[in-house]
């Protein structure tokens, strides 16, 4: 690293929260490090310290509760999510989405919570978790709060997380377990690349939920539609909701065309 910083590794949640309170915005939280350490290297981020959250035991777990649903701890990696039996059986789309992130080396380190906290418009976990109607739990010394993921993202690489808060876990509602889901991710190459457009779709007996990536300042969810919605209804809703721009990876027009194409394809898959 070209920039110097202190490394702090709290052993417990209490110690972590008091360290965060003390350092606030002067520190950055370190989980997998696959975004943070790149940002520090190129100078986008120059924290005085990084606080490693990986020693907090309760953050390492994936838990299933028939009432609450699936709980993904803050330091669960992409590979851990991909290999988890409950996730594969009840929320297969999440395992698939985690497999779309980066390369094998990155997936061994990168965390699901970190992917959300980086809050890139193309976050692979963003659109799939939005499609599942997930929420996120944040904690500071003062309080713990749970907010819908849709409210968590506030702009390009911006979230609701306050400097004294840590994301503790992600919660996927129990009602979504077993729902059918599918996603499409457009990349420039077959291997390791960021999404040009991504669309994730989840269908329960009653509702159809769609998340879209790389088509707005944040990953976005369409308004929930009835499971019986026609292809045209979903396409219209998608094109009304997304706000893509021209950038280095694709033009606005191409993105709009791909959103439509992916929605049609996913509607056929989940018919």
């Amino acid at each position: 690293m070209h920039h110097e910083f202190e490394y702090i590794a709290p052993r417990t949640r209490t110690e972590l929260l008091s360290t965060l309170k003390k350092l606030g915005a002067r520190a950055k939280l370190l989980a997998g490090g696959t975004d943070l350490l790149v940002d520090i290297r190129v100078g986008h981020n120059v924290p005085e310290a990084v606080i490693d959250v990986k020693y907090v035991d309760e953050y390492r777990k994936i838990r299933w509760d028939a009432k609450e649903g699936l709980s993904i701890g803050a330091t669960v990696t992409c590979v851990e999510l991909m290999n988890d039996k409950t996730v594969r059986a009840k929320f297969p789309l999440l395992a698939e989405a985690a497999g779309h992130i980066g390369s094998p080396q990155l997936r061994n380190r990168a965390t699901i919570a970190g992917n959300l906290c980086t809050a890139s418009p193309c976050a692979d976990m963003g659109c799939s978790l939005l499609a599942y109607g997930a929420s996120i739990e944040l904690a500071s010394e003062k309080k713990t709060r749970i907010i819908p993921l849709e409210q968590f993202f506030t702009g390009v690489k911006k979230t609701q997380r306050q400097p004294d808060e840590v994301v503790q876990r992600i919660i996927v509602p129990a009602a979504m377990a077993g729902a059918r889901g599918a996603m499409e991710k457009l990349k420039r190459i077959k291997g390791h690349d960021l999404a040009v457009v991504s669309v994730a779709m989840v269908k329960t007996a009653k509702a159809l939920r769609v998340g879209v990536g790389s088509c707005a300042p944040t990953p976005i969810a369409l308004k929930e539609l009835p499971a019986s919605a026609s292809v045209k209804t979903v396409v219209d809703e998608a094109l009304k909701t997304v706000k893509p721009i021209d950038d280095i990876r694709a033009s606005k027009e191409y993105r709009l065309a791909m959103v439509q194409s992916f929605v049609e394809k996913l509607m056929a898959t989940l018919k």
């Binding site: 690293m1 920039h3 110097e4 910083f5 202190e6 490394y7 702090i8 590794a9 370190l30 490090g33 696959t34 350490l37 790149v38 520090i40 290297r41 190129v42 310290a49 990084v50 490693d52 990986k54 590979v79 980066g102 390369s103 094998p104 080396q105 990155l106 061994n108 380190r109 291997g191 390791h192």
Partner: protein, 165 residues
């Protein structure tokens, strides 16, 4: 700058060192320990030249801090050859001309080593997926894939090249 005392096992040998918090695992391995087989390419987790095994899993060592690795077991390319004899995988890379400039090779070997632990007879697709985070810019992926197939007894015999003059 506060120093952190870390103990790590690299290729089975125990090292104990003091490192500053910001030292990357890559620079620790190369500069502090002196094992320069692991290379720095992009330094941003894109190219895979710095791939090592951390507790048995491939990681980009440029994107891990040495301080995070206290108590870890690390494997690098230096752990491959024993007593001056290439490992089976290295030998297959050598025989199949899967090494040209050699800069990506240490990382490639680590990714393939990790693959073979899970899939001792990988398909071509599995080989491609395993090395998708390792960029090669001169040898060509064909020879690398063939080397892995050769190391796992799956390479179909190729016609010998004929001398033209």
């Amino acid at each position: 700058m506060q120093m952190h005392r870390i103990k790590v096992k690299i290729n089975g040998k125990l090292y104990e060192r003091d490192v500053p918090g910001h030292r990357s695992l890559l620079h620790f391995i190369r500069d502090d320990i002196g094992l320069t087989g692991t290379k720095e390419g992009c330094g941003a987790g894109e190219c895979g030249a710095c791939t090592v095994l951390l507790n048995g899993k491939t990681v980009n060592s440029c994107l891990a801090l040495a301080a995070e690795c206290d108590g870890a077991e690390i494997e690098t390319v230096e752990g491959e050859a024993k007593n001056g004899k290439l490992s089976k995988l290295q030998d297959a890379f050598h025989r199949n001309h899967a090494v040209q400039c050699g800069f990506c090779t240490p990382g490639m070997l680590m990714s393939v080593k990790s693959l073979l632990k899970v899939h001792p007879k990988p398909t071509e697709e599995q080989i491609k997926e395993a090395i998708e985070g390792n960029f090669c810019r001169c040898t060509g992926y064909r020879q690398i894939i063939e080397a892995v197939q050769d190391a796992t007894g799956q390479l179909k015999k190729k016609e010998e090249l004929k001398r033209v003059s």
